[in-house]
């Protein structure tokens, strides 16, 4: 190792020390390659979702006249007859414009991901906090129930729940939320146990703070990092699971422009109109990929174990 790299290392070490943990995390996140890619893709998806009415040439459920069902994409720039109307992604089996449906689908997918995970976080946090704080029997019962829920393969449990509630988008979302509750309950409970006995919590209790107040101002800030990471990755799997349920006919009902449903409706035309199967799948994949990459980046950035000096040296 040369002297110059040694000085560089020393400088970077001092600079690590002089920054707040949040600044450090932010720096690591911004420099993280996969976080950058995820951020760009997600930003793109969010923009599409926000400006869907502007971007989509047609309504997603409008049945078009003068077009053939499952017509191939028609792009004027690529030599499609100018007299025909332009449909970049082609026409689906019910003579609707595929591009518009895919664009509106981005709204639904983002909503699905965020809604299911938010619900799971709220319920999971509550259960985990109550369990960790109360301890004893309450804790035991809550956590054993969570263990049992984790003992099922998650998608199959959601399928079973949908079987009970009946097919439909809302029921599918409830089922997906429900099966992801245990993860958040466990995270929050672990953080509660970690800080429950610490002096600053005792002090706060001595000052007369209510359990809820302690939970909000002392416990949750300690749990927020793993929750954020888990939520980002959770959104990815929620979108995948919702698409799977819709694909099976247990989720969104036609004519909702849901990507999984679009795939399911057109799966039998795979050999004669492959674009109808190809495009929604790519859309799902890109959205899920964005959340996965972002989640990886967040985990690497927020995990304090990353600032492990000896590890840094070993690499060099």
């Amino acid at each position: 190792m040369t002297a110059s790299t040694n000085t560089l290392r020393a400088e970077s070490l001092t600079s690590i020390v002089s920054r707040t943990p949040l600044e450090n995390a932010l720096r690591r996140f911004v420099r993280h390659r996969s976080a950058q890619v995820g951020f760009v893709i997600l930003g793109f998806m969010i923009l599409i979702a926000i400006f869907a009415p502007v971007l989509a040439p047609y309504s997603p459920i409008e049945v078009l006249k003068d077009v053939k069902p499952r017509a191939n994409p028609c792009i004027h720039a690529f030599g499609c007859d100018v007299n025909q109307s332009e449909h970049i992604f082609g026409i689906d089996g019910n003579r609707r414009d595929m591009l518009s449906r895919v664009i509106y689908g981005s709204r639904l997918s983002l909503e699905i991901g965020i809604a299911t995970v938010s619900f799971a976080i709220i319920v999971g946090t509550l259960l985990g906090a109550v369990g960790g704080y109360a301890g004893g029997w309450t804790d035991n019962i809550i956590m054993r129930v969570m263990d049992v829920l984790l003992a099922f393969p998650s998608l199959l449990l959601s399928i079973a729940i949908v079987a009970v509630l009946g097919p439909g988008l809302i029921n599918a979302l409830l089922a997906i939320s429900f099966v992801s509750i245990p993860v958040y309950a466990r995270i929050v409970r672990a953080s509660v146990l970690q800080v429950k006995e610490q002096d600053f919590v005792s002090a706060s209790r001595a000052l007369g703070s209510s359990p809820l107040g302690i939970l909000i101002s002392h416990v949750l800030p300690n749990a927020i990092t793993p929750i954020i990471v888990q939520a980002t990755l959770g959104i990815a799997s929620a979108i995948l699971d919702a698409a799977a349920l819709s694909f099976l006919g247990l989720g969104a009902a036609p004519p909702t422009p849901e990507w999984g449903l679009m795939l399911g409706e057109e799966r039998n035309s795979l050999f004669n109109a492959p674009h109808l199967v190809f495009i929604p799948g790519i859309a799902i994949m890109l959205t899920v990929l964005a959340f996965n990459l972002l989640g990886d980046g967040l985990r690497d950035a927020l995990d304090p174990r990353q600032v492990n000096v000896s590890k840094e040296y070993r690499k060099g």
Binding site: S34, R144, V145, D147, V148, L149, A151, F152, P153, S154, L155, L156, L157, I159, A160, I161, V162, A163, V164, G166, P167, A236, L240, A243, A244, F247, L248, G249, L250, G260, L263, R267, L270, F271, P274, V277, F278, P280, G281, I284, M285, L286, V288, L289, N292, L293, D296, R314, K315
Partner: protein
């Protein structure tokens, strides 16, 4: 060691109880009267009362639950409301296909996942490492059913007429079939547990073909399994590759590896013998945890490849509100998942002596 195994096994009991309770409760909190669901809307109150009495629905809920547990231990999963067959028969007929896909996908994902992970770790930052990691990120983000459709498109349509053509659907090519094991061995029709085991093994086409020496059928069955297994195995493959890579990187940076290299061992021995054994523990965990995903994936993929497994039956049962079937498949798959995790825990004790001593 045995103490560890016994303790782990005892810890399983509450979970098993919970699983059966949840599946039982799911079927009981259904909206609507099961009587209408089974006998139709036009049924008379007397018929309904008789039905409730016959099905034991008038008993207290705990009595019903205990009876359900008792039936379960006898392998009695109830009767399908739709076609009046014992659900156990349906499970024995459908489950082998799903298990075949799960096992095939597990071999595929573990073999290639560990292989790619090791290569990526050893050749860190090389083209193959970067390629694998990008591939792994994309791999975990793909919907299983979509990947299945894409594979069918490429291998069944685009490669038609080439030696790489693979059939897009079905379990065996038309004209090929395999007799049940009882017929092959000229056995009496068995009942009870042995009957169930033999039926299960018969319906597992690859296994049946292998032990009866029917290699043409075996090859044909494997050929039909390739695409579903790749589709189902891709997500676990990506996860296993990433896990293997990071676990190997950590181990390879330890001092004993440097010692092994310093004493002149060839790299292959260092990597495969010294490093891999210590890197295995997290890999085994991931493989075990992926079983749940594999089974869900198999259920999804069966509908794409028109395979007669749990998935296709489960979906039609849900749509026709045949809860006995849904309940049975849920409980059976959850039990399999739990036992696989138990095996994973046991393999820890085998791989890592520290676990035994805890």
């Amino acid at each position: 060691m045995s103490q560890f195994l016994i303790r782990r096994f005892l810890l399983l009991l509450p979970v098993l109880f919970g699983i059966t309770f949840v599946t039982f409760a799911l079927a009981r909190i259904l909206p609507g009267d099961p009587c209408f669901a089974v006998l139709g809307e036009k049924v008379s109150p007397e018929q309904c009362a008789a039905f409730r009495e016959r099905q034991g629905l008038n008993d207290p809920i705990m009595v019903q639950f205990v009876r359900y547990l008792g039936d379960l231990t006898h392998g009695d999963l109830g009767v399908s409301l739709k076609d009046q067959r014992p659900v156990t028969d349906i499970v024995l007929q459908r489950l082998p296909m799903t298990i075949e896909i799960t096992i095939g996908a597990m071999f595929f994902s573990t073999f290639f996942g560990v292989l790619l992970g090791i290569i990526s770790a050893v050749r860190r930052n090389s083209a193959i490492d970067v390629g694998t990691m990008i591939g792994a990120n994309v791999g975990v983000s793909m919907p299983v059913f979509w990947l299945g459709l894409m594979l069918a498109y490429v291998f069944a349509l685009k490669l038609k007429g080439t030696p790489f053509w693979i059939p897009p659907s079905g379990r065996l090519s038309s004209g090929i079939s395999i007799p049940p094991l009882t017929e092959f061995y000229h056995m009496e029709k068995l009942s009870g547990l042995w009957g169930a085991v033999v039926t299960f093994a018969s319906n597992m086409v690859t296994f049946n073909a292998l032990i009866t020496g029917n290699f043409d059928v075996f090859r044909d069955a494997l050929w039909h399994l390739i695409l579903p297994c790749i589709a189902v195995g891709t997500i676990p493959l990506s996860i296993i590759a990433r896990m293997t890579r990071s676990s190997m990187l950590e181990v390879l940076s330890l001092d004993y590896i440097r010692t092994a290299r310093a004493k002149g061992l060839i790299e292959r021995v260092v990597v495969l013998k010294h490093a891999l054994r210590n890197a295995l523990l997290p890999i085994v965990t991931v493989v075990g945890l992926s079983v749940g995903g594999l089974m869900s994936g198999a259920v999804l993929t069966e509908t794409v490849f028109a395979l007669p497994g749990v998935g296709t039956q489960l979906i039609s049962a849900i749509l026709s509100r045949d809860y006995a079937v849904v309940q049975a498949f849920t409980v059976v798959i959850a039990l399999i998942f739990v036992f696989v995790n138990l095996i994973v825990d046991f393999s820890y004790a085998f791989l890592d002596p520290r676990v035994r001593l805890q």
